[in-house]
């Protein structure tokens, strides 16, 4: 965090190389975050550009109240939502891709079983609201992401994030258990 503040201060002094370092440090994470929302690679790239250009011009308003990375995620979230709203696109989870990732580590026979649950998985994801999805996205971006960081990005309380997260987790476990029982019959 101190390192980020130093970079911000240097940019505000006119050091463009520090802004270059900021891009290098966060570009990939912001892209993954944006892509998980807009689900279109080209659009996500454009939004990443917009995010960093906005960050540059609004850098003087960064108060240090939030972690710099959380501030970046907030801007990226707003830009992505703007795009979704403008284009009136209902961006839904690409269950095929998600399934591919989820089954990467499974054995072929397990994979087959899992395939059967694809429809149920779709139904499970449909039960999650926007905030639930955002929590999963942000938690999945980096294993060290803390609940307080997610709370800052989403501008909700840390306790809300935690209770929502554990509720999703519980729901998911009971869903999996149900699937496993069905496979055993």
């Amino acid at each position: 965090m101190t390192e980020d503040l130093e970079l911000v201060k240097n940019v505000l002094k006119g050091n463009i190389e520090s802004f270059n370092s900021i891009i290098r440090k966060y570009e990939s994470a912001i892209y993954r975050y944006v892509l998980s929302m807009v689900k279109d690679k080209e659009t996500a790239k454009d939004i990443v550009q917009e995010v960093f250009i906005t960050v540059f011009y609004k850098l003087y308003t960064y108060s240090g109240q939030y972690k710099f990375s959380n501030w970046l995620y907030q801007i990226a979230r707003n830009k992505s939502f703007d795009y979704i709203k403008k284009n009136k696109r209902i961006v839904q989870l690409d269950i095929e891709n998600a399934w591919d990732v989820a089954t990467k580590e499974l054995m072929p026979e397990q994979s087959l079983e899992f395939k059967e649950t694809k429809e149920e998985l779709k139904n499970f994801m449909k039960t999650l609201d926007d905030v639930d999805r955002q929590i999963l996205i942000l938690k999945g971006l980096n294993e060290n992401t803390k609940f307080i960081d997610i709370a800052e990005v989403l501008k909700i309380s840390e306790s809300t994030v935690k209770s929502k997260y554990y509720r999703i987790w519980k729901k998911y476990k009971s869903f999996i258990e149900k699937q496993e029982k069905r496979c055993m019959i």
Partner: protein, 422 residues
């Protein structure tokens, strides 16, 4: 730690939602207990599966660093007094907000009290002399005196449209915009070959050059210090020349008595920038149509991009590339959704010009400027129309090329010759 406690806290352990001490105790138990270890591995796998539901494949991402750096004004920070002042104020906002609110509240109470006592005093006076000067209102303080309209500071040679006295129009450059009512008498316009500059009109003439509100300057001649973004459009083309809309980079002394007024107007600049229009002047004083920058012979060179559904086959596109298009006062070529449309020639065409923003394209065409190779924030759309049939839609790009749309594709046009004046 026992297995029961471990099982209870396992979910929090995986989510890294435990204190350092509790986390270490869990890790220690994990090393010692085989059954808890297999439970942990099972739960961890489920946890990863859950998070992967929303994960994306970003392995083929190529860095946008160059594009980002090209999209920013690298001199934004460092030398500007305004940016430093603004940064300082924002940084210390909370510190000063409380003081500011208290001071405002005290001033407000004082003003209110003075007004209240004045009113009581005035009523008492009227009650004391009911027969004197009763044609005058009882409380003159409450009568709103209409402000005297200050003389306009717009230079004499500035063309102002009669139907909207606040609309400024520069037909030579092909640019118009509308000032706010509240700006009357408070600004000065300077015109040059390269553009238009609007200054805050200070009572101290020596401050003029430091009181820049905004400017519209030909891009090639734009000094980098004028490149603060102040609203949309940021850049546009008029009569074939690219203009950049820039804002103040400071210089107006904050200690000066008119600084608050200057800041107020500075905040309102974006509302004026919004009204910028490209003025088409179809006729000059002699009644003749003026030459347009896009008049001439053009060649279709390539497909720039295509929308998801189109009417042209690959073979059609090959036939289209290399075709000539002509735009002049007397005639214009046509282009549309089928090859036959090209054969229609429009006599004495009408050229309707509209400035289109990036957002307009995204909303209406579902296409980004980047895909069309447009660097500016806006582009000039030219609708070529005939009296009955034919015509086409052109877009004049900043690099002197044009785009013509038809059959779901945007084709690039390059000028091959200018038509000579007869």
């Amino acid at each position: 730690m026992d297995c029961r406690k471990f099982t209870k806290d396992l979910c929090a352990y995986i989510a890294k939602d435990l204190s350092q001490e509790a986390y270490e105790a869990m890790a220690k138990h994990l090393e010692q207990c085989e059954s808890c270890k297999s439970l942990y591995e099972y739960e961890l796998k489920r946890y990863k599966q859950l998070l992967s539901m929303e994960s994306v494949d970003a392995s083929d991402y190529s860095s946008q660093r160059v594009e980002i750096l090209n999209g920013i004004d690298k001199n934004r920070y460092g030398g500007s007094i305004m940016s430093r002042l603004s940064f300082f104020l924002k940084k210390n906002f909370l510190k000063y907000a409380a003081t500011g609110i208290t001071a405002t509240a005290i001033i407000f109470i004082c003003i209110f009290s003075i007004g209240y006592f004045k009113e009581i005093n005035s009523r008492n006076n009227i009650a004391e002399r009911p027969n004197k000067e009763n044609t005058q209102p009882a409380n003159t303080d409450q009568i709103a005196v209409p402000p005297v309209e200050p003389p306009s500071t717009t230079p004499v040679d500035t063309p102002v449209q009669e139907n909207n006295p606040r609309m400024y129009s520069n037909e030579k450059l092909g640019i118009s915009f509308t000032f706010l009512d509240s700006w009357d008498g408070k600004y000065t316009i300077k015109e040059s070959e390269d553009g238009i500059t609007v200054y805050f009109k200070s009572s101290d003439d020596t401050l003029l050059n430091n009181a820049l509100l905004f400017c519209i300057l030909a891009k090639s001649n734009t000094n980098s210090k004028y490149t603060d973004i102040i609203g949309q459009p940021r850049s546009f083309s008029a009569k074939g020349i690219n203009y950049i809309v820039g804002g103040p980079t400071g210089g107006f002394d904050p200690s000066y008595k008119e600084y608050t007024e200057f800041l107020k107007m500075h905040d309102e600049v974006k509302d004026i920038v919004k009204t910028i229009k490209v003025v088409s002047s179809p006729q000059n004083n002699s009644g003749k149509i003026e030459d347009e920058v896009f008049f001439g012979e053009w060649t279709i060179t390539r497909v720039v991009t295509s929308l998801s559904a189109g009417t042209y086959s690959k073979e059609d596109i090959n036939n289209i590339i290399g075709k000539k298009m002509i735009f002049s006062k007397e005639k214009a070529s046509s282009f549309g959704d089928n090859l036959e449309s090209y054969d229609v020639e429009v006599n004495y065409p009408i050229y309707e010009k509209t400035l289109r923003s990036k957002e307009y394209f995204l909303t209406n065409w579902k296409i980004g400027f980047k895909q069309l190779g447009i660097i500016c924030d806006s582009i000039l759309e030219i609708n070529v129309k005939g009296s009955s049939q034919g015509g086409c839609t052109l877009f004049l790009k900043e690099d002197g090329t044009m785009l013509v749309y038809g059959g779901g594709s945007f084709f690039e046009l390059k000028k091959t010759s200018s038509l000579s004046e007869n």
